[in-house]
């Protein structure tokens, strides 16, 4: 009973000591952070960092780090924590992907780069390579063979758009001017002439073959009637 005031005083003392210690720690932390902020924005800190980065020590440290196992460890962690997936998800969710192309396209660097590429002849070489190589043929062949292309063509043919386009094309005078030009072109006239000559030649060839067969048939019978041996100087019809 007699010790109760003493115990109470000791307890109060401990509480006061804890409060004082907490207050001192908070003040020290605030002061340290304020000092750090002041240090980070100071010209001295920037100069110091620049010097450190430019120093041989920094280069050596980076080299040692790249040579060491830290690279593999970082890579493992990147894979383990799906860093790329998370970054990609953030990029896709935000406007960064839409803004980046706009920014790039708006810059003059793209125009300069395009001019330089066009002037270097790379485009011509690439086009020639594509046209001469088997890739284009493979792509076109696979595209034409695909059912998607078949469905696409079917939809285009069945759509009213094609009918309207054909209708408007047939109504235009330019089409008939173009048709007249093509019909009167020397190439078309030559093709028609060759076709006509080819047909006439085909008919004449048929007549020739039949007449020669008739010659052989008649002479065979006449010689048989006259009891003469078959002619030796008579040749069968030439194959044409």
């Amino acid at each position: 009973m007699a010790l109760r005031p003493v115990v109470g005083a000791a307890s109060l003392g401990r509480r006061l000591e804890r409060h004082a210690r907490k207050a001192a720690a908070a003040g020290a932390t605030e002061a340290a952070l304020a000092g750090l902020d002041a240090l980070l924005v100071s010209r001295l800190a920037a100069e110091a960092v620049d010097r450190v980065v430019a120093s041989a020590l920094a280069r050596s440290a980076v080299s040692n780090a790249l040579e060491g196992p830290i690279v593999e460890a970082v890579a493992r962690d990147v894979v383990r924590y799906a860093v790329f997936d998370r970054v990609t998800a953030e990029l896709v969710a935000g406007d960064a992907l839409e803004e980046a192309p706009r920014t790039v396209m708006a810059s003059e660097a793209v125009a300069d780069l395009t001019d330089a590429i066009l002037a270097s002849g790379v485009v011509e070489q690439a086009v020639a390579r594509v046209l001469e190589g088997p890739e284009l043929e493979r792509v076109v062949t696979s595209a034409l063979d695909s059912p998607v292309m078949e469905r696409l063509v079917t939809r285009v043919i069945e759509s009213q758009l094609l009918d309207q386009a054909v209708e408007r094309l047939l109504e235009s005078d330019e089409l008939w001017v173009l048709v007249d030009e093509i019909a009167q072109s020397p190439a078309v006239m030559d093709a028609i002439a060759q076709q006509s000559v080819g047909f006439a030649d085909q008919v004449a060839g048929g007549v020739r073959a039949r007449s020669q067969n008739a010659d052989t048939w008649i002479e065979t019978r006449v010689r048989r009637a006259l009891r003469r041996r078959p002619a030796s100087g008579v040749h069968p019809p030439e194959p044409r």
């Binding site: 052989t216 100087g233 008579v234 040749h235």
Partner: protein, 184 residues
Amino acid sequence: MSHAVRRAVQAARPEHTTPAAQAQPAEPAYQGLVTRSIAFAVDAAIINLVAMVVAIAVGLAVSVLPLPNSLDPVLVSLGGLAYLLWSTGYFVVFWSSTGETPGDRLMHIRVCTADAQQPPTPLRALVRLGALVLAAIPLFAGFLPILVDERRRGLHDMIAGTVVVGVTVATLSSNRGDAEAGRG
């Protein structure tokens, strides 16, 4: 009739056939009666078509002229003479120049001398045409030797010393090449 044919055939038969001649591989393909008749019919169609067009044109022109009727026999005679000259010139010029009339060309045949395989001279072509008329007079009996002759020669061929052979594809190409070279 068969007697005449037999004589013509015997006259046309080669005297001696040597082994060397038999060994010659490049014997031409002699053409028969049907093929030659078709070629001749095409030529006759061309000749008569041209003659009709010319006769119609000349007749129309003459009809508007105030000519006396007494001139009609003269005009008819002139027309007949023109037709004779035209048809004669047609065959003689084509046979002696290339050996092919348009009808022959259509049927891929040509007339050539029996010995040198060359187109006949104009005189020989004229003789052949005259003999052709002679062969046609006895109901076309002069053409019957074509059916039995070794070289498919008719009476007119025997008289003129000619044969009718087929034109090979190579010869046609060669002729076309020569013609194009001549044009170039």
